[in-house]
């Protein structure tokens, strides 16, 4: 019973290794006649060394601290802002009034919806492309601020889920980044220009440039990364 349990634990832990390496390592441990507990410790040691090795590169650091952590915080703020604006402009009273005098405010709302989607997707894409094998740690860096903000969300008129409006776009971006790694130069450039152009109206606002650029630089990183392939 005890050895069965330790074997289950060992196989669970070993599943964190690459398939070919897992088979070789488990074979070595079987050949050496190591106990399940000692084998589990050995595999944990290997996984730890592998993870530490991955973090010797600059890419996972940039993905975690340059994009995931600040990006999730800023995008949650934008998600709430977009949700409130949406409620304001397309709330039941206004729809009932049927005037549809949406004007400049509505155009700005649409711009913000586009920016939220684009920033989320781009941030996710660059995170996926940069971190790959460290993605679960990077995801934790994004997850932690989300839990913190969900816990402290106090706007009664809005659902807490409004904080996570950016999430579908970001997840899609990560999936695309893992699959493609790079964008074509023309697409990356179009995206970067569109995102930057849409932030122009806010340039006059004091203090807006920092969050804007914190969210926009990954788009220009995509341009720089794609240029090398063309």
């Amino acid at each position: 019973m005890g050895s069965q349990l330790s074997n289950v634990c060992l196989n669970l832990i070993a599943s964190l290794l690459e398939p070919h390496e897992r088979e070789v390592v488990l074979g070595d441990l079987t050949e050496a006649g190591e106990s399940g507990f000692r084998s589990s410790l050995a595999v944990i040691g290997l996984i730890t060394r592998r993870q530490v090795g991955l973090w010797r590169n600059w890419r996972p650091w940039l993905a975690a601290f340059g994009i995931a952590l600040p990006g999730s915080l800023l995008l949650m703020g934008l998600s709430v802002s977009v949700s409130r604006s949406w409620q304001e402009y397309l709330g039941p009273e206004i729809m009932r009034a049927s005037g549809l005098h949406l004007g400049l405010g509505f155009v700005l709302l649409l711009c913000n919806v586009f920016l939220l989607s684009a920033w989320s997707w781009i941030g996710g894409f660059v995170t996926g492309a940069l971190s790959r094998r460290t993605l679960w740690v990077t995801a934790a860096f994004s997850f932690a601020p989300c839990v913190f903000c969900l816990e402290r969300f106090r706007i009664e008129a809005l659902s807490r889920l409004c904080l996570l409006l950016f999430l579908p776009g970001a997840v899609w971006g990560v999936w695309s980044g893992l699959r493609l790694a790079r964008l074509r130069l023309s697409r990356a450039l179009a995206l970067a220009i569109a995102v930057t152009a849409l932030t122009i109206p806010s340039w006059s606002q004091k203090g807006a440039w920092l969050p804007n650029w914190a969210l926009s630089w990954p788009a220009w990183y995509l341009v720089a990364a794609s240029r090398r392939t063309v």
Partner: protein, 103 residues
């Protein structure tokens, strides 16, 4: 220049020749040096040596002794042999004339 453990690993692989693979190298190191060698140290060092072009590895046969799992066979390249020779020469040179009596 090789590190100490890298040298030990290459030397063990050369001694084992055609039978050099993960578990055998580990046992050889433990027997000859009297020090334990973790799986983590073995495989991360092997990967580093392969990146530097000092060893080549490939998947070998699976045996019943290993629960039907394959071996990771290891072969030292000429570049690896040269690096190990250089390391050994350096150790010999630096050790020449030393009196090992405890002070």
């Amino acid at each position: 220049m090789l590190g100490e453990f890298e040298y030990l690993l290459i030397a063990a692989a050369i001694r084992l020749g055609d039978y050099a693979y993960g578990a055998a190298i580990r046992e050889e190191l433990q027997t000859t040096t009297g020090r334990s060698c973790s799986i983590g140290a073995l495989y991360t060092t092997l990967e580093r040596l392969e990146t530097k072009g000092f060893v080549k590895t490939w998947m070998g046969e699976a045996t019943a002794q290993r629960g039907g799992r394959p071996k990771r066979m290891v072969c030292v390249t000429p570049k690896g042999v040269q690096a190990a020779k250089d390391f050994y020469e350096a150790i010999r040179n630096v050790s020449r004339g030393i009196r090992w009596a405890a002070n």
